[in-house]
């Protein structure tokens, strides 16, 4: 390979090789060095990634530690409020592998959605919310695993601000002092999709549902890989190392045919404020730039993403577009839900398909899943809850994998 790219042929030849980046010449700093310096000065506590962990390669080559277990599940308000099968699928996967985790109630939302929507906060307020959650995790001994892509991106940006601005650190420490908490920053900020990515081979080992007939598109979540870009996972084997590897690598590992489309870099149209009070923008962007493009170019059975807002925008925007005869009708799931389905999770007790509005039945039909049988079973659960003979569904009801294609 030539070092000097002067002709089109040389440039194309260079682009045909996967990108393997050398961390030693990366243009960004290693945040951990700065964190440990602050810890040595007594300014912060750095919560170490618990063992066992696995090292994954980030955009510029730095190895990022991803914990296997002992994780404190920093839940997403969008998941838990509007797509609960997203959160329960993440925990179900942990339970299937017998991994130790904590589902805390000493946790608030990062409040980043509100901040990006209204700016009705400030740097000190946002940093203190993050630091309070991290201190709460540290007190339990469990390591934060962030479910929401926006929380993940927001926290990475706040970590940068805290590391680079002493005034902000001092202010956050003063506020935390009111509640008797230290300023704790984890050694790594880890998104759950990185954990799913790390687990992909083990997921495939426990796979019971053949997915080879499925074509899916992937929407990479903006706040996962655009904010503090150097902290996202990349792999030379996936898109030649030019795009984040999470989601796509897992889907390919379980046999899904991942199809490419031209607007992969576009956002989903969520807009934070827009999705709540100005949804004409969200609907238009989501349908015209994402769903319809996917439909026209590859006509997938499914689109898969790894963040709260993306699932909501892409799924919920499709209904109104039908009135304008737009090409829609692609069910939307998270990577965790697809992984759980592949391993035989109950479609309604765990994956909670009924919270998704774009018709998911053709997708399950194509997989040969006898969803009606499980829907009837779930209706029996609901009847029992209504009758007061059952207080609710528990993990005892949901843990066991089911034979999804059985008649």
């Amino acid at each position: 390979m030539s070092d000097t790219l002067t002709t089109v042929e040389q440039i194309l030849e260079r682009k045909s090789h996967p990108v393997v980046r050398d961390a030693s010449v990366a243009k960004t700093h290693d945040m951990r060095d700065l964190l440990f310096e602050l810890e040595a000065k007594g300014e912060i506590i750095v919560q170490r990634v618990p063992e066992p962990y696995f090292e994954m390669t980030t955009k510029y080559g730095r190895k990022k530690k991803i914990p296997l277990e002992h994780t404190w599940h920093h839940k997403s308000c969008g998941h838990c409020g509007h797509i609960p099968g997203y959160a329960s699928s993440i925990l179900w996967l942990h339970r299937q592998f017998g991994l130790d985790y904590l589902d805390p109630t000493d946790q608030t939302s990062c409040t980043g959605w509100n901040y990006y929507a209204s700016a009705a906060s400030n740097a000190a307020g946002q940093a203190s919310v993050m630091a309070r959650n991290f201190a709460a995790a540290y007190e339990t001994g469990y390591f934060p695993l962030i479910h929401c892509g926006t929380s993940f991106g927001h926290y990475k940006e706040i970590r940068e601000q805290l590391v680079h601005h002493k005034d902000l650190r001092d202010e956050v420490r003063r506020i935390l002092g009111k509640m008797g908490k230290p300023l704790v920053i984890p050694e790594e900020i880890v998104h759950y999709s990185e954990w799913v990515h790390m687990m992909r081979d083990r997921i495939a080992e426990k796979q019971t549902l053949d997915m080879s007939m499925i074509t899916a598109t992937v929407h990479p979540a903006c706040h996962y890989y655009k904010i503090v870009a150097e902290d996202a996972i990349y792999d030379p084997e996936i898109y030649g190392g030019q795009r984040t590897a999470v989601v796509t690598a897992m889907l390919e590992t379980i046999g899904v045919n991942v199809a490419d489309y031209s607007t992969w870099f576009d956002c989903c149209g969520f807009g934070f404020r827009h999705v709540l009070v100005q949804r004409d923008f969200t609907r238009s962007f989501s349908v015209l730039r994402k769903i319809e493009t996917m439909k026209n170019e590859v006509n997938p059975d499914l689109t898969v993403t790894h963040d709260t807002g993306c699932v909501t925008s892409l799924d919920k925007s499709q209904f109104a577009a039908k009135a304008h005869d737009r090409k829609v009708g692609i069910p939307v799931l998270s990577d965790a839900q697809v992984a759980a389905l592949a391993m035989g999770a109950h479609p309604f007790r765990v994956i909670q398909f009924h919270w998704h509005s774009t018709d998911w039945r053709p997708f399950l039909d194509k997989l040969g899943v006898n969803w009606q049988k499980y829907w009837d079973e779930f209706q029996g659960d609901l009847d029992a809850i209504r009758a007061g003979t059952k207080s609710g569904i528990t993990w005892e009801d949901a843990d066991a994998p089911v034979a999804l294609t059985a008649k």
């Binding site: 609960p84 946790q107 939302s109 969520f270 404020r273 919270w355 609901l382």
Partner: protein, 235 residues
């Protein structure tokens, strides 16, 4: 108007908001410039347009992250006031624009502009956030941005008949979720400990967050303050 030696003002915008004094516009700009994050978000601008090409809002609105970065770099006070009063609420905050080869963060600049606009009670910002107060109430009081009980057919008619089906079954569906932290909870995304909420309220008061709310919506401020202070006194 023809360009003459008298009105030639290279690179700077004309005064489109004469109702606001230049000194006031300059004061707002200096508040933006003095934010501790400003120097992290702006390094100059090549005018390459990569940020515009990736920007979702640029496709549907008269909105340009490049103009924002350029205006900030030129310290074009008039143009920055136009942006504050007309543009900032169109940004989708996706941060696609941080693909900038100069490492600018136009989305971050918008965040600072929004904060300054809010703190100074600009009417355009109050208008843009009309209807949003209930979300602020929820997130500040419950520690969650959204909750199942917000999914009402009146608010989400464009999401189709699913919203009606959900709304009719919400209480039962919420009990049919295996996670202990979520099961049965309808007014928040998950069950948040009372102690945790009191700590959150402490953050809102101590960080100056409540002053921002007061500027935005005094009735909301009064409501939040009353509930939070009562809880903090009891706690």
């Amino acid at each position: 108007m023809p360009t003459t030696l008298e009105n030639w003002n290279p690179g700077k915008a004309e005064n489109r908001h004469p109702e606001v004094a230049y000194e006031e516009k300059e004061r707002l700009f200096l508040e933006v410039k003095n934010d501790l994050r400003f120097s992290d978000f702006l390094y100059g601008c090549y005018e390459c347009g990569i940020c515009v090409a990736t920007c979702p809002s640029a496709r549907f609105y008269d909105f340009s992250p490049r103009v924002i970065a350029q205006s900030m770099a030129r310290e074009d006070v008039e143009r920055i006031y136009d942006i504050i009063s007309e543009d900032i609420w169109n940004c989708a905050q996706c941060f696609s624009c941080v693909r900038c080869p100069r490492q600018n963060n136009p989305g971050g600049l918008v965040t600072i502009l929004r904060e300054v606009s809010l703190k100074n009670g600009l009417q355009e910002t109050k208008d843009a956030l009309q209807g949003y107060s209930r979300v602020i109430y929820k997130v500040m009081l419950k520690g969650n941005q959204v909750s199942p009980d917000m999914l009402q057919p009146d608010f989400f008619p464009d999401w189709g008949p699913w919203v009606g089906e959900f709304s009719a079954n919400m209480q039962i569906w919420r009990k049919a979720i295996p996670m202990d932290s979520i099961r049965g909870v309808t007014d928040a995304a998950w069950r948040v400990d009372r102690k945790t909420l009191l700590e959150l309220y402490t953050i809102w008061f101590e960080s100056g967050n409540m002053d921002i709310i007061k500027e935005l919506d005094e009735a909301l401020y009064d409501l939040l303050t009353e509930v939070m202070q009562e809880e903090l006194e009891e706690g």
